[in-house]
């Protein structure tokens, strides 16, 4: 059987013209006309030919392809004798395809215009679902996109063309500091310094090939000076499960001078990590383990003192009461608080705040130097550092003190008239000072604290410095020492000054009877919450055998001691906050207070001081504070700034308690080292926290690399490093429903 289709005519004159849009409707019948439809699809052929005049007659001009000249020939009037019925032209396949294409284009344009211009514009143009974090926090597109915020503002004059100000929206919720658009949030120039330091420390490493190629690309190296948009690294609209902070390792390194292939490969080794500074509290781990703990047969367990912070990131120190009190405990007695060392009571914990010095009353009387009443119980050989400070703050008294320095006031037989006059002025200055303290309802310690500590102190700081001493205590002291009648003394004369004091005392008693009683009746420290911060102070008493006013500390964390030690540290710096004062005297007073209160060793091995605070609390230098600051607390994770390194203790502690700590924190061999141990303590002699000898060996990369390799825990950059550093405010967890709401609730300054 022959399956071959019948042979079709291939005459070139019957070329089908495939580009034509219309085809004769008779083509399907096999009777298509010789011309075909017009370009507009109309049938224009009515006859098989268009006769041609030849002489007197007409000649048929039918094409040979269509049969050639017909037998009948044209009609006498020249019309063709073979009419063709009009056809219904049909579109060619090509034309149909063109129509489909045009309609598709129109439909596409309609969909785009409807989508972009209709009320469903936002879901239409949205690039996809937001991550889970942002979809709950950001309600509208305008929450991030500035351009959408202008939708309703028809008359907004400065509609941005592009959304390049989107950073503003990001930092409205995410407080990244004042340099949010700079690399790592560091000020320009600061990063260069860090880079130079890093380059100097790092060893050799090989740049991965991809990074070498990347450096050749346009914009390949961002450098340290270019700003970065948040969107450079944080991509959104990738679905709810996507992590906006996901970032490839190579991208981290594209800016870095030291580049390497992987952590387990040629990542630079650690130098001092994590021990870049000494501890804030003076604590010798080795000595405690090998000497103190072994002596008490107590196990040296890390978790006895160290605990995980709330975030599971850092290790914080437990409170003094939990970690230290068992050994460094206090015994409260009525008058004395003791500290125990090796089971022996070593120190009392009371501070003489105010004393009356012993004066050579006989000589003064003989020389007619009028100092008024001076009690026989005034036995002190020197003024307290507090008194020296307060008296020095008085410009009229400071020179007197200076001249009397080193003089023995209990023996004035060989004193000159000028010296006696100085003694007279000193005595009345002391009385006046006491009188001012008795006027303490105006301000703590009569307002004299501002002259010493500076006017910028807050109320709770002044309260701590005053020890919440009641004015009545000083008033009673005045009455006891200076106002009690002494009939045996014929020269005794209550001056107008003393009359005023007595009147004041009477007034004080009427206003507050409690102020009349000595505060020594109460053993408990008073707490006055000012501004939400409690001030813990101790107990005030008057000396029984000597004319003195004594402060008994409340125990560990006494705010009086802390306040005065902080002040003393500042005062010993060259510039004092008080004005018009004898700076050297102030400085010396500060030094004396440090010894008196903090236990600063006067000589090696000799500990002095009421508080012994500085035995454990180190002093270190801080930028902007020439004198340094006392570290009253250990490292506090909750206020720590984010550094470049990010380490979370919690996942690592799953390995087990003591073993986990010892994997990374290797205590240097304490057996060998009393010498080494002493070097640890020597580190605290100076105030440079970065120059020290620590108890622990720095970690090595191999310690981390044991787990952080491609096969196990992975070694991505962001596993261990932060990009955003500094003090970052946690993101607010509320939903902004409008740009105005976002701006209303943004942190100040934005």
């Amino acid at each position: 059987m022959n399956e071959e289709p019948r042979k079709q005519e291939t005459d070139k004159e019957r070329y089908e013209r495939p580009v034509q849009n219309w085809i004769c409707g008779w083509a399907e019948e096999g009777r298509r006309c010789h011309l075909g439809p017009s370009p507009k699809g109309r049938c224009t052929v009515t006859n098989e030919c268009a006769p041609r005049k030849q002489g007197d007659g007409w000649v048929c001009t039918r094409w040979p392809n269509f049969g050639g000249e017909c037998e009948q020939g044209p009609l006498p009037d020249g019309a063709c004798c073979r009419p063709i019925a009009c056809c219904q032209p049909v579109r060619s396949l090509r034309s149909k395809r063109t129509m489909v294409t045009r309609w598709t284009i129109l439909l596409t344009l309609a969909v785009l215009l409807a989508g972009y211009g209709g009320f469903w514009r936002k879901p239409f143009v949205s690039a996809g679902d937001l991550s889970m974090q942002h979809s709950t926090a950001v309600g509208e597109c305008s929450g991030c996109h500035v351009l959408f915020a202008n939708d309703a503002q028809d008359e907004h004059p400065d509609t941005p063309v592009f959304d390049d100000s989107m950073n503003i929206r990001c930092v409205a919720c995410h407080d990244m500091g004042s340099n949010s658009s700079e690399p790592h949030g560091l000020a320009r120039g600061e990063l260069s310094v860090i880079s130079q330091r890093s380059r100097a420390k790092a060893g050799e490493s090989s740049t991965p090939m991809m990074l070498s190629l990347a450096a050749l690309m346009p914009g390949g190296t961002n450098g340290h000076e270019g700003s970065l948009a948040c969107a450079t690294c944080h991509k959104e609209h990738r679905g709810r499960e996507a992590e906006p902070a996901e970032f490839a390792d190579l991208k981290c390194q594209t800016c870095h001078s030291n580049q390497f292939a992987s952590f387990s490969g040629d990542h630079p080794d650690f130098s001092q990590y994590p021990y870049y500074r000494r501890t804030r509290l003076i604590f010798d781990h080795a000595r405690h383990k090998t000497t103190h703990y072994s002596a008490t047969k107590k196990a040296f367990v890390c978790s006895d003192c160290h605990m995980l912070d709330r975030a599971g990131q850092q290790m914080a120190l437990q409170s003094f009461e939990s970690a230290c009190l068992d050994c460094h405990g206090f015994e409260e007695t009525r008058a004395v608080q003791k500290i125990y060392h090796h089971g022996q009571q070593i120190l009392t914990k009371e501070v003489e705040f105010f004393v009356l010095p012993r004066l050579d009353l006989r000589t003064l009387r003989r020389k007619n130097v009028d100092i008024g009443r001076w009690p026989a119980t005034a036995k002190s050989r020197r003024l307290t550092p507090f008194m020296e400070l307060f008296l020095t703050a008085d410009p009229s008294v400071a020179p007197v003190l200076d001249r009397l320095k080193g003089k023995k006031l209990s023996n004035l037989r060989s004193a000159s008239d000028a010296e006696l006059e100085d003694v007279r002025r000193l005595a009345w200055a002391i009385k006046e000072l006491l009188g001012v303290f008795a006027n303490g309802d105006v301000a703590p310690l009569g307002g004299r604290l501002e002259a010493v500590a500076g006017a910028s102190r807050k109320q709770d700081q002044l309260l701590a410095l005053s020890g919440q001493a009641q004015p009545g205590l000083f008033a009673e002291a005045i009455e006891t020492w200076f106002l009690a009648a002494d009939d045996s003394d014929p020269d005794y004369d209550i001056s107008a000054f003393e009359d005023d004091l007595r009147t004041f005392r009477a007034q004080l008693c009427r206003a507050d009877s409690a102020a009349c009683r000595a505060s020594s009746d109460s053993k408990k420290s008073t707490t006055d919450k000012l501004g939400g911060r409690g001030v813990t102070t101790g107990v005030w008493t008057r000396g029984t055998n000597r004319a003195s006013i004594v402060y008994q500390t409340s125990g560990h964390g006494d705010d009086f001691l802390k306040g005065w030690l902080d002040l003393a540290l500042q005062l010993q710096a060259t510039d004092s906050q008080a004005q018009d004062v004898n700076r050297e005297a102030i400085r010396q007073s500060g030094e004396a207070l440090l010894v008196e209160l903090g236990g600063v060793k006067a000589k090696p091995g000799k500990a002095k001081g009421a508080g012994q605070c500085l035995k454990c609390h180190s002093i270190e230098s801080v930028a902007g504070t020439p004198s340094g600051v006392i570290n009253w607390t250990a490292f506090r994770p909750e206020i720590a700034t984010r550094g470049f390194s990010a380490f979370a203790h919690a996942p690592h502690l799953q390995l087990g308690d003591q073993k986990a700590c010892a994997v990374c924190h290797i205590l240097e061999d304490a057996e060998a080292s009393k010498a080494a141990s002493s070097k640890v303590l020597e580190s605290f002699v100076h105030i440079q926290a970065n120059t020290f000898k620590g108890n622990f060996s720095p970690m090595t990369k191999d310690t981390c690399g044991a787990c952080h390799n491609p096969k196990t825990a992975g070694g991505a950059c962001v596993t261990c490093h932060n990009y955003h550093i500094g003090t970052l405010v946690p993101t607010m967890l509320w939903t902004a429903t409008s740009p105005e709401a976002l701006e209303d609730n943004a942190p100040d300054g934005r």
């Binding site: 143009v125 190629l213 990347a214 969107a231």
Partner: protein, 273 residues
């Protein structure tokens, strides 16, 4: 150059370019620059260049290279857009209404293009095997002619042989068969079943036919076969022309949506300029 040689050479060039592109993209991804703009513009310009093939065909008088060369570029560059698109979207499923529309349209264009490539490589050889060149536009006329001939044969059977079976069978089965091109999918799938059914039906009539009827039946069988051949030609040639009904309109849609996507990408880029 032989076809195989040319194909191998062009494939090699494509693989090299693809590899270099992948490496460059991976390196570029290590920078802080948003590579999507780079890949996006490359993709857009490539798509525009691909669409220009249609214009090239229409402007054949311009001395801008042979159309066959353009076609080769169109094929291989079109293949390359697959990789480029995957790099642009980061090998993840797009999200968002417009992005999904764009992805679907591009997928449609690529798929129709690959289907078209496959058809243009396979079908002509199948057509050539089946015999003479047949002009697609003339197939309906040829079918109509065969139908008229078969009608004449049926009339002859009634007049000359007083046959009832033949007209009945014609009315029942052959009339619709000869009316227009038939059995499109069977011919695409190279299945001969419809023809065999019809021919066997005609053969069944032979048993009870007179000699004249048998003669007529024989000729009708030949017409069935001939018409079937035309149907085959029609089906395959329709496929060869019809895939462009999908590919070309989708290409223009792709251009429009892509430009709109570009506009939105810049409008909401969120970068610092």
């Amino acid at each position: 150059m032989k076809l195989a040689q040319r194909r191998n050479r062009l494939l090699t060039i494509l693989i090299v370019i693809a590899t270099l592109s992948w490496v460059s993209y991976t390196a570029y991804s290590a920078t802080l620059v948003d590579t999507r703009f780079f890949t996006g513009w490359t993709l857009l310009l490539l798509v525009v260049a691909l669409v220009l093939l249609n214009a090239r065909k229409k402007l054949s008088f311009l001395p801008i290279g042979d159309t066959s060369l353009w076609l080769q570029f169109h094929i291989y560059a079109g293949t390359f857009t697959v990789l480029l698109c995957l790099l642009h979207i980061g090998f993840r499923v797009p999200s968002g209404v417009l992005d999904n529309i764009l992805a679907l349209v591009l997928a449609g264009v690529l798929l129709s293009g690959f289907v078209g490539l496959l058809l243009t490589r396979r079908l002509p050889s199948r057509l050539a095997i089946r015999g003479n060149d047949v002009i697609f536009q003339r197939i309906p006329a040829s079918i109509r002619e065969i139908a008229r001939e078969v009608e004449d044969l049926v009339m002859q059977s009634v007049v000359e042989a007083d046959s009832k079976a033949i007209p009945q069978y014609y009315a029942k089965r052959l009339n619709t068969f000869f009316a227009r091109p038939r059995n499109f999918f069977f011919h695409i799938l190279e299945l001969d079943r419809p023809r065999r059914i019809l021919v066997s039906g005609v053969s069944e009539l032979h048993r009870f036919a007179s000699p004249r009827e048998k003669e007529i039946l024989q000729r009708i069988s030949e017409k069935v076969i001939e018409k079937n051949g035309l149907d085959y030609q029609y089906s395959l040639q329709l496929m060869l022309k019809g895939w462009l009904f999908v590919h070309i309109p989708l290409s223009y849609t792709l251009i429009l949506v892509a430009f709109f996507h570009t506009y939105l990408a810049y409008h909401f880029r969120g970068d610092l300029l």
